[in-house]
């Protein structure tokens, strides 16, 4: 039995029946990582001894008892490094657990391994990691998406049973689509952000990567809920997200936003998504055309608001309390200037500049305030659309994975990769990407993602809709062409 290829749900059955021990499950993963990660490079590091100690004493009666979960390098796990793939946090050891991590532990899971990412979650290809890039398991000359590219790649390559990532403008859903796994961004406020290194605080949300929709529901069960340590986490009841998986879709109304089916979508992506929508019809769903008229402004709004928030959040990297500090500063300005010059990579610097500019006196109203107002209009688009439908269905990304190096010189083109995922963060709704087919390009089979967007705090029906598609199609059973 190839343990590493199991889903969390399957692994749980083996653990509960004691056919497999938590240590065996962990060691199988570690062997798989040793075999394929030199090619994929999805991990920044892992501490097998620490994980083995936890596995040896794991309580397998808990919902995720004995299951190792890979963690994006942006979440604090006590005693482990947390660098956000940035030089400025090299050598930092987390002194506490993020709430999502504490909750994973309480559910019996074992945080194992730090996954690669674009530096401070800024990017769509994981090429902005200051450590190394990550390869797409389906074609190692291509990017895995980003910013949570490491988490997506290790789940797709069977180097993890599941993973956590963070999504500010699509950073869970887009890499999940490009690597062919499931990625869920919960509603803003569903999961505490305490212990998540902040990028854009009004948009960031932690969520799971998994091989199946049911596994994402299990992980969401564990990490959800209000937290006194995060005042933006919301006091909404947390249902069992697995409870109604498998219900039929008769009477469900799915909205096709006309603004998301435009020129410029890769033809094979367009075909796969339209075919998925026809499949939903055959499952009993009713398809309704909806309009999200301010879609075209979402990327512009995002790159004002997200960079503004980032410029303020990253001000904490001052070389005093933690992180890199420049040698022999002449004075305080020199200390700040050189610490940040040496510590931050180019994309982070670009976004700090842009964010500082849109917040600066004389430009605040023209850019920041105006963007916040257009954000209101984007939110209203979703509210109106959800008067008519239960979920929205569209592509996750306009194209399959692109070649490494293809976009690095053109930030604007890179930003447009997030065109279908950004509006969800601005509006706060939950969104999920599930595999819906493959594009055949230059002899490679590249996964295509279907995005489903739900009403705020209605992840349960969203997961049910996603699960119905997944279980009646073969896509989630495919594995990338890697040596076993």
């Amino acid at each position: 039995m190839d343990l590493a290829a199991l889903s969390i749900t399957e692994l749980r059955e083996h653990l509960r029946s004691r056919a497999v021990s938590p240590v065996e499950a962990l060691d199988a993963l570690d062997r798989r990582i040793a075999s394929v990660d030199p090619t994929i490079r999805g991990y920044l590091n892992r501490d097998i001894d620490q994980a083995r100690a936890l596995a040896a004493t794991a309580d397998i009666t808990l919902p995720l008892g004995g299951v190792p979960i890979a963690i994006k390098d942006v979440l604090n796990v006590k005693g482990q490094p947390c660098t956000c793939a940035s030089k400025i946090l090299r050598g930092y050891t987390a002194p506490y657990d993020a709430t999502a991590i504490a909750r994973l532990r309480a559910a019996g899971a074992i945080p194992f391994g730090r996954t690669n990412m674009d530096e401070f979650a800024m990017g769509s290809s994981t090429e902005n990691s200051s450590v190394h890039p990550t390869a797409n398991p389906w074609d190692t000359s291509r990017i895995p998406g980003g910013s949570s590219g490491g988490s997506a790649a290790v789940v797709a390559a069977d180097e993890a049973y599941g993973a956590l990532g963070s999504d500010t403008g699509g950073s869970i859903r887009q890499p999940a689509a490009l690597c062919g796994c499931v990625g869920l961004k919960p509603t803003y406020g569903r999961v505490s952000r305490f212990g998540l290194v902040a990028f854009a605080s009004s948009l960031d949300q932690i969520g799971p990567f998994s091989k199946t929709v049911r596994d994402s529901a299990l992980l969401l069960n564990a990490i959800s809920g209000q937290d006194p340590q995060d005042s933006t986490s919301v006091a909404q009841p947390v249902p069992d997200f697995t409870a109604n998986l498998g219900r039929d879709l008769k009477g469900i109304r799915l909205g096709m936003p006309r603004e998301y089916f435009i020129d410029g979508i890769h033809p094979q992506v367009d075909a796969a998504v339209r075919s998925a929508i026809r499949h939903y019809e055959s499952l009993g769903a009713e398809i309704v055309e909806v309009s999200l008229p301010h879609t075209d402004y979402a990327v512009a709004v995002y790159y004002i608001l997200a960079t503004a928030e980032a410029s303020a959040n990253l001000a904490r990297f001052d070389g005093v309390r933690y992180g890199h500090r420049a040698d022999a500063p002449l004075n305080l300005l020199d200390h700040y200037g050189r610490t940040r010059e040496e510590g931050f990579g180019p994309e982070v610097k670009r976004r700090i500049i842009l964010g500082t500019y849109v917040l600066s006196s004389g430009y605040y109203d023209a850019y920041y305030l105006r963007a916040q107002k257009v954000r209101t209009l984007i939110r209203q688009d979703f509210t109106r659309a959800f008067d008519q439908v239960d979920a929205i269905v569209c592509p996750t990304s306009p194209e399959p994975a692109f070649k490494a190096g293809e976009r690095t010189g053109d930030p604007l083109k890179m930003y447009l990769a997030d065109i279908f995922t950004i509006a969800t963060n601005l509006a706060g709704n939950p969104g999920i990407s599930i595999p819906c087919g493959f594009a055949e390009i230059d002899g490679a089979r590249l996964p295509i993602g279907l995005q489903l967007i739900g009403k705020p705090f209605e992840e349960a029906p969203l997961l049910e809709i996603a699960h119905a598609y997944e279980q009646s199609t073969p896509w989630h059973l495919q594995h990338p062409p890697l040596p076993s």
């Binding site: 050891t93 948009l203 402004y297 933690y322 300005l333 842009l354 601005l426």
Partner: protein, 144 residues
């Protein structure tokens, strides 16, 4: 003054704005951002580093306390000019009578009891400090 401010607003985003506008802009800004987010920039330095109305990477990097190389300044200037051109499309949207959104899911007045809780001791808080002395963070000298 009001007229000049208005014309400045109309011109913001354009590079070829005359010196008069620059001076007005300076007066306009002084009360709002001087000293620019730190007390350490001298008035004369601020005068020299005055921004042009379009995104001025060199000036903005000073505000952000971020040194850049000449090469980075040139690259970012051209890349961010493109991004600014792109985001100008928001000017097409009628936002009169639209309230701004700061958070997608509004939550107000979150309180908790003001009680002490177990948290870091001083040694843990200092454990990642690049420099420390006598149980304190060591900071580069602030006053000359």
């Amino acid at each position: 003054m009001v007229g000049l401010k208005k014309s400045l607003r109309n011109l913001s985003g354009l590079a070829d704005v005359g010196k008069a506008v620059r001076v007005t802009r300076f007066i306009d800004q002084k009360s709002l951002v001087f000293p620019p987010s730190s007390s350490l920039l001298l008035f004369s330095e601020f005068l020299i580093s005055m921004p042009s109305p379009a995104l001025d990477v060199r000036y903005t990097a000073q505000l952000a306390r971020l040194h850049l190389t000449e090469e980075e300044i040139a690259t970012f200037q051209s890349q961010l000019d493109h991004v600014i051109q792109y985001v100008e499309k928001l000017k097409q949207v009628d936002v009169s009578n639209v309230e701004p959104t700061a958070h997608a899911i509004p939550v107000f007045n979150v309180f908790r009891k003001d009680e002490s809780r177990d948290w870091f001791d001083a040694a843990t808080a200092l454990s990642n400090a690049p420099r420390q002395a006598s149980g304190l963070f060591s900071v580069t000298k602030v006053v000359e």
